[in-house]
Amino acid sequence: MSPREAARRRWARVAWIYGLLLTFGVFFVGPFLMGFLASLKPDPLEWPFTLRFAQVSPKNWAAAWRLGRAGSGDPWLGGMRPGREVVLEVAYFWPEDTPPPLEAAVPRRRPGAGMGAVFETPYAADHVRLLGPELVEKAPARLGEKEGYAYRFRLRVVYPGEGPFLERVPLDLEAPRGALYLGATLDPTRFERRGRVASWDNVVPGFVGYVFHNYVRAFREARSLETGESLFLRWTLNSFFLAAVKVITTLVFASMAGYALARLRFPGRQALFLFMLFSMMVPGQVTFISNYLVLKDGIFGLSKLFGVETLLNTYTGLILSGLVGAGAVFIMRQFFESIPREVEEAALIDGATPWQTLFRIVLPMSTPALGAVAILTFQGTWNEFFWPFVVLTSPREIYTLPLGLLSFRNAYGQVGDWGLILAGGFFSMVPVLVLFAVFQRYFVEGVSVGALKE
């Protein structure tokens, strides 16, 4: 083979590898990125999909920040407080010499779906006054073939006197047919009526309120009817709580069971191990009805001793039914097998009991396996849908995040309001992503630990 040929082959290999990597990268990360971008849009179903929309323009970021600060002093989440004033400027192209008649209004607007449709929040229309539009500038302009003028108007929203804090101040601006929108301090949320009405959902959004509009809505709009607290926040905390408890119980029981199976000699050890392996093969869908009935009766009536009629709709039931998974025991056992016996024999000679050996000697050596089990358990619990869905039905305050997202789908999906659902879904992914980024090493080990042999 000539050196030329060798070089050619090498480059061909490089091209193949990078080509494949790139393809996979686009294939896996692409939808992810599109999902994220769509979750920022006011209309996530927008078709054709555009990459340039108002929420990603730095001009609007700055404007949203400024308007939020002017409205309430909070540049992040915005809103409007009494005694404040915000100014918005809008420019239109209009072919005639006299300015176009504009009609501006702060509409009374409430959400059409979900809990927002029932809660009565103060309407901005009852509290703020709209001044303008007043003409501030007129300049000759050309738009394509058409000669005309660019008119710049100023709108002032004033909140006089006393009153409640307003989370949002919507604004509608209607222009006559033939007037063309050129630009505004803050780009409108949407155009309606064939471009004649520019409509802002909130003229005091603040930076986060503008760019992450759907995320803020997820937290604000879904509230408990009983207490008024944010349901989405509640669900997130619930998921964290359950995941944390399950990680702890799994670590404790999986390490003890794994150690017993790996090291202790007792009759039926092998059979027990095989039985455990077998239980891993049975899908949850097969056993869930019997598990459900067991929880319904409070584990054969045992819970009645504690004055609890049923374990359905309780975390106790959910936690007890998933204290430890066979998979976790398996990983721990395999790892313990790989630890040299000599270490434990040394401990034995020093007079350590099996408990001491496990907790003082073996466990401190097993951090990789413990880490892997902890992370896999956390991720599994965080994403778990089916079993919590069966056990937890009401009230909505006890839902975990995946169940909450389902209820979002039911509440908002039927009216085509996908922004909230997409934002919620994306948000629920964040903890797992962070976990993965920080503990990547353990993820990989978690997969390989089970296969490890001396």
Partner: protein, 409 residues
């Protein structure tokens, strides 16, 4: 100390004297409505009677959940029944007939069409909580811009189609109507011809009347009056109206919530569906849901009290005034809410009246116990003809054959 003990005893006594009634429905928007209704109207009334209502909304597949819970014996005392699958549920005998608990007079206060929809083999199995029918919504902006007269209740299919054609011809980028290959919309037109989904023997015959409606509906696209919703990137006619891709839509009152979010400034109005030019009648569906009583309920008396409170005039007034749903009581036809100015009261009024005399031939949205299987052949025929894969003759022949096979089973 003794006093505290006594107080505790009294409290305990009170707590045990309370009867619990569990009620369930599907989740989504209904959670907000039912919770509000319970809190503000129903529970205050029932407190005096010592009844406590526990509301358990179900997320996910409600039908599946209900059938499972009824077999497992965990079903609540009262639950929603959608008319669409009502007959297959009533046939199981797990729902208690309500005739012993309601007098003739009480039942007569509800719209007879709705009561009929929940009557199975001569017995009443549910009290309708609300309902919907189809109406025609149109975007006045687009009609003004094209200088076309608004649709009105004298319109026949022909005059209505002429208006749509003008819209589509004058505003190039707007469809007159966007059509969906779905019996849930097309059926209203088929009914207008006098066609019945089931004849006396319980069989479905796709006769000449059906064919006339079928040809008109599927031909709208070819004649330049409509476009297929999927071609416009929308899944339903309301989506097309909301995004101003079509000038009209055929939907029920559920479109109001959607438009409130999606297009709050859209100036739309509502009128009745157009008339069949031959029979001079219209047709319509009734989509409705009832509160029904569990036959295995341990406290039926209390549950019926809750049921009566949930469908009481005050409760329905509360729901109507918030524009959340359309009530099922006759007396509310003259409610001042319907006369209020604005697009939503008008929509609700037309939808309400769609179930009355103005509605013409009105049938509940149910197909004996066949459910969705019955609609499938017709939907497939609609789809095939609209996309030009098959001719009308062939599509209808195949649909008839599929229906015959289904009914022979």
């Amino acid at each position: 100390m003794k006093k505290a003990f006594l107080a505790l005893l009294v409290l305990l006594g009170l707590a045990s004297a309370q009867t619990q009634v569990r009620i369930s429905g599907w989740g989504g928007t209904d959670i907000a409505i039912v919770s509000g209704l319970l809190k503000e109207v129903v529970q205050p009334k029932l407190d005096k009677e010592g009844i406590r209502v526990v509301y358990e909304p179900i997320e996910g597949d409600y039908t599946q959940w209900l059938f499972n819970a009824l077999s497992a014996g965990t079903a609540p005392d009262l639950f929603y029944v959608d008319v669409f699958w009502s007959e297959s549920l009533f046939a199981t005998g797990r729902v208690a007939p309500l005739d012993p608990y309601f007098s003739k007079g009480e039942i007569a206060e509800f719209l007879p069409n709705l009561i009929q929809a929940f009557t199975y083999k001569g017995k009443l199995y549910g009290i309708p909580k609300d309902f919907n029918t189809l109406a025609l919504q149109y975007n006045t902006d687009l009609f003004d811009e094209a200088k076309v007269a608004y649709p009105n209740q004298q319109d026949t299919w022909e005059t209505f189609e002429a208006k749509l054609r003008q819209i589509q011809a004058k505003l190039k980028d707007v469809a007159g109507l966007c059509v969906v290959p779905d019996f849930a919309r097309f059926g209203a037109f088929a009914f207008a011809t006098g066609w019945k989904p089931f004849d006396e023997k319980g069989r479905t015959v796709l006769d000449q009347n059906f064919r006339r409606a079928f040809e008109w509906y599927t031909g709208l696209v070819k004649r330049g009056a409509a476009r297929v919703a999927q071609d416009l990137g929308e899944g339903w006619t309301g989506g097309c109206l909301g995004s101003e891709k079509a000038a009209t839509a055929l939907e029920g009152a559920w479109i109001a919530g959607f438009l409130r979010d999606k297009a709050p400034n859209l100036p739309y109005r509502t009128t009745f569906l157009p008339l069949d030019p031959v029979t001079k009648k219209r047709g319509n569906f009734i989509f409705t849901v009832s509160w029904s009583l569990n036959a295995a309920s341990k406290n039926k008396e209390a549950a019926v009290k809750v049921l009566k409170a949930l469908t009481s005039p005050e409760a329905q007034q509360w729901v109507l005034e918030r524009g959340l749903a359309i009530p099922s009581r006759k007396a509310l036809a003259n409610n001042p809410y319907f006369q209020r100015p604005g697009k939503e009261p008008e929509l609700n009024r037309v939808v309400f009246q769609g179930s009355l005399g103005q509605g013409g031939y009105v049938y509940p949205f149910k197909f004996l116990s066949y459910g969705g299987d019955w609609m499938r052949p017709i939907n497939e025929a609609l789809q095939a003809v609209m996309t030009g894969q098959k001719g009308v003759d062939q599509a209808l022949k195949e649909a008839q054959a599929a229906l015959d096979r289904l009914m022979r089973k």
